[in-house]
């Protein structure tokens, strides 16, 4: 179906009737908050019974620029987003290629693949806290049995290991969805391309670079740009894993903004942080939209 809008009056009118029940709730609880949220960053709004907000221009932003925690949360947010997205993508691509061959437990692997994605993030966090527990967790147990370490490591509690540990969990959660998406993309590739290439004597590696990757391009750009946005916005998982600690080493932008708003009551400041996040997201989104428009053209 083409996305051309030919605003036919009759169709418009009928569509409006069908939209009516949804219109008020969407305007009141979605569109208005979206716009109000963007605007709040330019005010001094505080939590409190009677919120009096004054326009203060870029005041919050200049305060953010001088806040070390803002810069570090930003840096951590980017490290987290890029590491999780890229590593999970590479793993997922390898896996999707595997699952696309006629292996045995393919069905099992595929079903299993989506469970982490549907689990409550809080449960995923609890599960990984059990796994990474310094004294009772199996990960430490295995590492010590393999003599890779002689003392238990408090993965989530150490300055140097907390962020990598959290990233591993992020990959665990995100990989399944990426894999299944890539798998669908792989199955959409015309087989005759490979047959033709094989006749021309192209080996597996050649076929991968010259057929698989180019054919998957649209899917790859779509899923990685969305993954980046989702990862950049993520909250619950890390909140339960580390709450941003130890010493702010896993303080993602959303955690920073949440603390600002609901711990210290600085609504305006938190919204300003949200505004900064929107700017970053627009960059990620631009890739996605450009790709989508091109694939529709």
């Amino acid at each position: 179906m083409s996305a051309v809008t030919t605003g036919r009056p009759k169709q418009n009118r009928e569509a409006i009737y069908l939209f009516l029940p949804a219109l008020l709730p969407i305007l009141l609880f979605s569109v208005y908050p979206l716009l109000r949220g963007l605007a709040l960053g330019f005010t001094d709004a505080k939590a409190g019974l009677h919120v009096q907000t004054n326009f203060i221009g870029f005041g919050n932003f200049s305060k953010l620029l001088h806040n070390d925690l803002f810069w570090s949360s930003f840096k951590i947010g980017l490290i987290w987003t890029l590491s999780v997205t890229i590593l999970q993508f590479v793993a997922a691509l390898g896996l999707a290629l595997l699952l696309n061959t006629n292996l045995r437990f393919r069905g099992v692997a595929r079903t299993l693949a989506l469970i982490p994605w549907a689990m409550p993030p809080v449960v995923v966090a609890i599960m990984w806290r059990l796994l990474l527990h310094p004294t009772n967790g199996p990960v430490n147990e295995i590492l010590q049995n393999l003599h890779l370490t002689d003392h238990p490591i408090n993965f989530l509690g150490n300055f140097s290991t907390a962020l990598p540990a959290v990233i591993v969990v992020g990959i665990w959660v995100g990989m399944p969805m990426t894999t299944v998406t890539l798998l669908a993309g792989l199955q959409g590739i015309d087989r005759s391309l490979y047959e033709a290439a094989a006749v021309d004597g192209a080996g597996g590696w050649h076929q991968f670079w010259n057929i698989t990757l180019p054919q998957l391009r649209t899917v790859i750009v779509a899923i990685t740009s969305l993954d980046m946005i989702w990862n950049f916005n993520s909250f619950g998982l890390v909140y339960v894993l580390t709450a941003g600690g130890p010493g702010g080493k896993t303080m993602l932008p959303m955690l920073f903004a949440y603390n600002e708003a609901f711990r210290y009551g600085n609504f305006g400041m938190a919204a300003a942080m949200g505004d900064v996040m929107v700017v970053i997201i627009i960059v990620f989104l631009a890739f996605y939209l450009r790709n989508r428009l091109r694939s529709q053209a």
């Binding site: 051309v4 169709q11 208005y32 469970i115 409550p120 909250f235």
Partner: protein, 282 residues
């Protein structure tokens, strides 16, 4: 499949199996560990040399978890919130999804834009104004308040899924009905809805799971311990580390995951294709 020709070298094959097994371990081990912990006694959990499988599996952690009043109440809260928002989402979304799939109105690009924006917008920007709107209405810290928020914020995805299902219903059937003199509403109710049933079920389950799993809005909007949903109560358990009982915590986590598992048992295949047609084609 695609790159494989008939005679894949045995070494390659072996490497592939090793890779798949690694992957199954990476994905499956955490889940198995959670389940195994939920079946272990406190002594066994605390043993210096934890074993993978419980030596004397029993369900006492589950009964302990269920005796925990806060936990049962939070499950009932979650159930209420999830059922109510699922029903509301379906009622409100179905006509919109129908309009999106069938009419070329000006609302279509606007709605699709809204769907995309709402999926990528940082929730912090939404939750603060929502908090400010709901408070004067006395809806913060109430179940109805959370239901409203979940309903509106599950709609984008529900619309995304439902649009696709509506588009798959052959138009000819509707045209036939309208030739027979049926009104638009009548056509939707008696022709489209029955054919949409699998799609409605899939969308309902998806909405239910999102509400069941949701953490952020609930964290901000619900303070009263009586009203907290399951994810909030589970998270609070972990926060109180030291006196935390890992066995019952693992058991409660397993229970919290049951809806997702049921969901998959039902619609593994359909779900993936549905999500993907949305994600890739848009």
């Amino acid at each position: 499949m695609s790159r494989q020709r008939l005679g894949t070298a045995p070494a390659t094959r072996a490497a592939q199996y090793v890779a798949v097994v690694c992957y199954l371990i990476f994905l499956g081990f955490p889940l198995l560990w959670l389940i195994s912990t939920s079946l272990k006694s406190p002594q066994e959990f605390a043993s210096i040399d934890p074993s993978f499988l419980p030596k004397h599996p029993d369900f006492s952690n589950f009964t302990d978890a269920l005796e925990e009043q806060g936990l049962v109440r939070s499950m009932l809260n979650s159930l209420q919130v999830s059922v109510a928002s699922t029903v509301l989402v379906l009622i409100v979304s179905l006509p919109v999804a129908y309009a999106l799939a069938r009419f070329r109105s000006r609302l279509r690009p606007i709605t699709n834009g809204w769907i995309l924006v709402s999926q990528v917008f940082p929730v912090i920007l939404i939750v603060i104004p929502l908090f400010m709107i709901l408070r004067p209405l006395h809806l913060t810290n109430t179940i109805p308040g959370v239901v409203i928020v979940y309903t509106v914020w599950s709609m984008p995805f529900a619309l995304w899924m439902l649009q696709g299902y509506v588009a798959a219903v052959p138009r000819e059937l509707e045209e036939a009905a309208s030739v027979d003199g049926a009104s638009r509403v009548r056509t939707i109710v008696s022709i489209v809805m029955p054919l949409l049933r699998p799609g409605l079920i899939a969308t309902a389950m998806f909405t239910f799971i999102s509400a069941w799993n949701e953490f952020f809005f609930a964290l901000v909007l619900l303070q009263d311990p009586q009203l907290k949903t399951l994810p909030l109560v589970l998270a609070r358990f972990v926060g109180a580390e030291g006196q935390v009982q890992f066995g019952p915590l693992a058991a409660a986590s397993v229970l919290a995951t049951v809806p997702s598992l049921v969901f998959f048992a039902f619609l593994q295949r359909r779900l993936t294709s549905g999500l993907l047609s949305g994600a890739v084609k848009g």
